[in-house]
Amino acid sequence: MTHARPRITLRQDLAALPFLAPFFAVFLLFIAYPIFYSLWLSVHQVTIFSDFYDIFGTMTYVGLENYAHILTSVQFWWAVGATFIYAVLTIIPGIALSLFLALMLNRRLMGLGVMRSGFFIPHVFDIYVVGIVWLLLYYPGSGLVSRFIAMIGASETARQGVLDNPMLTLPAITFAMVLKNAGFGMILFLVSLNNINPSIIEAADVDGASRRQKLFHVIIPLLRPMILFLVVTGTVGSINAFAEIYAMTNDTGGVPVEVLGETVQSARTGGYHLFRTFDEGRYGEAAAVSFVFMIFALVISFINFRLLRSSD
């Protein structure tokens, strides 16, 4: 009798209900239901017959037409590609910079606290607003960064402005974002470094490991879970990236480029593409786009979790 789990009574359920109700009211209405609603939207379309005052109520069922349209559209695949480029350009330099900062600041140093705060603080700033500040810094010809670029010899690039150069739009945006978010990764790495058992490092010292060997064969492997965490959040972050692109391309998505006979914008990543589709009133297609991206995100998260497990 003592080993049996105590029966959960209805009274206990009723006692818990008031505590759970507020959270779950919002959760069900704005998180759980939308996932299914989104699925419903993705097989419907706004048509000219839709009632302007009740667009969502009067959409017509179109089956998988939205998905078929997306998967054959150059713009969509370009958005996937741009998101991939964005992810690579933020995740790899971002992790490298945060790791470097964490390793450098994980010791006794003059002004350590000031430096840690200083590197972290841009992370709490509004992305859109920071994007606008970078727009000023990148301003063609006379912006500070443009002047610097002209000073090191690329005067043509400086005159045109990096954001108006199709090859440089995404690198310029991601450069700003890496600087903004490096402090976040740095703090996470500092937490992990503090959690490393000092005896492991001592053992390596006893074995006569050089500083470089210790870094690459002891410390970095121990930081692997954190690196994977940053890769996963970085991937989801790349798919969600929006405000910085909206800000730095003046809501254009970047410079028009000709790809396979269609005009696409140089920085039109997934998040921005979704917003554009939504903003143009193609709600069904927007829902379908977000579903396809959700599948991408889930697959990538799954692969990452598998990698995480195999590393343990």
Binding site: A15, L29, S38, M104, L144, L179, A286
Partner: protein, 481 residues
């Protein structure tokens, strides 16, 4: 037995120490450079927001007490030098009784049609005449139709009449050495003459071939220089600039101003004081409500037993894997369906189910010693009482952490606030307000940066005050992975 310590091995050790110290210094410098780069946008935003209108792209930050005309990066003006073939003619006529003369009424006739009028105020007229061909001329001054000087009086006699203080040359000249009609300078017969008309307070100097010649104020706003110098030849191609010497305060006031902030705070159409308040309301209410919902939910999941507790929790956690943008279209539809477009609840309510917050609170409450709850239950406390007297006081630090994280997130939630508000919304928040403002004032960078400061500076202050609470939340989030 002690051996004397050999001295030689110490040298490499000292060198090694020196090297490692140098390496440490190098890393320190590198970190400082990196920190400056990371802080650059913040610094640039702040300094631009205080700059005078239209100067956002000027790379000058230290107020200049000496201002050159033309500026240093422009070529200096060539200094005309009078010669026998190329004389210079210049009149100064001072008649305090005449008062201010309308420039348009100055009407030189005939061959003197090309002229430069430097100044006509307070009875002082400065006039440079530029005859087309060299020769001897006679001049007439007419004031309101009344001839001051008979037309046939030779120029030299003008001096005797006291109407013209000085006649520098009697025949042909070119004096238009500057685009600025209120700046004139030339050299004639080893004499340097300059007149600058500058209504602003300040002292002036003429910078000629590296030498400084101060001007003296001969009349309010009129600065003049008459000075003997060793003869300068036209072939020397003498060049000059006018230097304005101002007090540091004047210079600083010209470069930095609070006008940008004043403009965006008092603007009818784009009022950043209102945007700021809206952001404050949205972020604060989102923060408080999120904390309440998550603490209650976290308590239930951590300490209470009910059907499907663990399954429900896993389900909630699983929805964290869904990228946020999936929710945009359906949440938009639901929110406008509830009639919450352009309202505070429309911006706040959809984000209240913070799963990370629920997780954070559940973890934290789980660490509270069970004895505390058991003791309370023995005392006959009800669940709401336990929640109020035990859970909330113990959880205050983590609640503050969650509040701050939510506050910062909602303060910066651009996408949702952009789509759920129309342009005429009364509840626009800072980022959306800035976006609207930019739409109308694309090139007003100084004001745009002042508006940006309203969003950035409060977050910086908030972070610096509650650093520990922010970082605790991050560490908790990282550990869970």
């Amino acid at each position: 037995m002690r051996r004397p310590t050999p001295h030689i091995p110490q040298a490499p050790a000292a060198a090694g120490r020196l090297l490692s110290r140098a390496g440490r210094g190098g890393i320190f410098l590198l970190l400082i450079v990196l920190l400056l780069i990371v802080q650059l946008p913040l610094f640039w935003m702040l300094i631009t927001s205080f700059k005078a209108r239209g100067t956002a792209f000027q790379l000058q930050f230290i107020p200049q007490t000496r201002v050159h005309t033309p500026a240093d990066n422009e070529p200096a003006l060539s200094m005309p030098v009078a010669t026998a073939d190329d004389p210079i003619l210049h009149f100064e006529h001072h008649d305090p009784a005449a008062g201010t003369v309308d420039l348009a009424l100055m009407d030189p006739a005939g061959e003197l049609a090309r002229h430069e009028l430097q100044y006509a105020a307070g009875g002082l007229w400065l006039l440079t005449l530029v005859p087309d061909t060299p020769g001897t001329y006679l001049y007439t001054f007419e004031l309101d139709g009344e001839e001051l000087i008979p037309a046939d009086v030779p120029a030299a006699e003008l001096l005797a009449l006291g109407l013209v203080e000085e006649i520098v040359a009697e025949s042909g000249a070119v004096t238009s050495n500057t685009d600025d009609p209120q700046l004139l300078a030339f050299v004639r017969d080893g004499k340097l003459l300059a007149t600058a008309t500058r209504p602003e307070d300040g002292r002036y100097e003429l910078l000629l071939n590296g030498r400084r010649f101060p001007l003296s104020e001969i009349h309010p706003g009129i600065h003049e220089l008459h000075r003997q110098i060793e003869s300068i030849h036209p072939e020397d191609e003498p060049a000059f600039r006018l230097t304005e010497i101002r007090s540091f305060g004047t210079a600083a006031a010209e470069m930095y101003t609070l006008d940008n902030f004043r403009a965006i705070l008092t603007s009818e159409e784009f009022n950043f004081a209102r945007y700021f308040l809206n952001s404050l309301v949205v972020a604060t209410s989102a923060g408080i409500l999120t904390v309440i919902l998550c603490t209650m939910g976290g308590y239930a999941f951590s300490q209470m037993t009910f059907h499907f507790r663990d399954q429900l929790f896993v389900l909630v956690l699983a929805s964290m894997l869904v990228p946020g943008m999936i929710f945009m279209v359906p949440q938009f539809s639901i929110t406008i369906g509830l009639g919450l477009m352009n309202t505070y609840p429309g911006m706040v309510v959809p984000h209240l189910a913070n799963i990370f917050g629920l997780f954070l609170l559940r973890q934290y409450i789980g660490q509270i010693p069970r004895d505390l709850f058991a003791a309370a239950e023995i005392d006959g406390a009800s669940q709401p009482q336990i929640f109020q007297t035990i859970v909330v006081p113990i959880c205050l630090p983590i609640m503050l952490t969650l509040f701050l994280l939510t506050f910062v997130t909602q303060w910066s939630n651009f996408l949702w606030q952009l789509i759920i508000n129309t342009g005429d919304s009364r509840v626009l928040t800072l980022p959306v307000g800035l976006q609207q403002f930019r739409g109308q004032n694309t090139d007003e960078w100084e004001m745009i940066m002042a508006g940006a400061s309203f969003s950035i500076v409060p977050m910086a202050i908030l972070f610096l005050c509650f650093q520990g609470y922010f970082l605790r939340g991050l560490a908790a989030g990282a550990v869970k992975e």
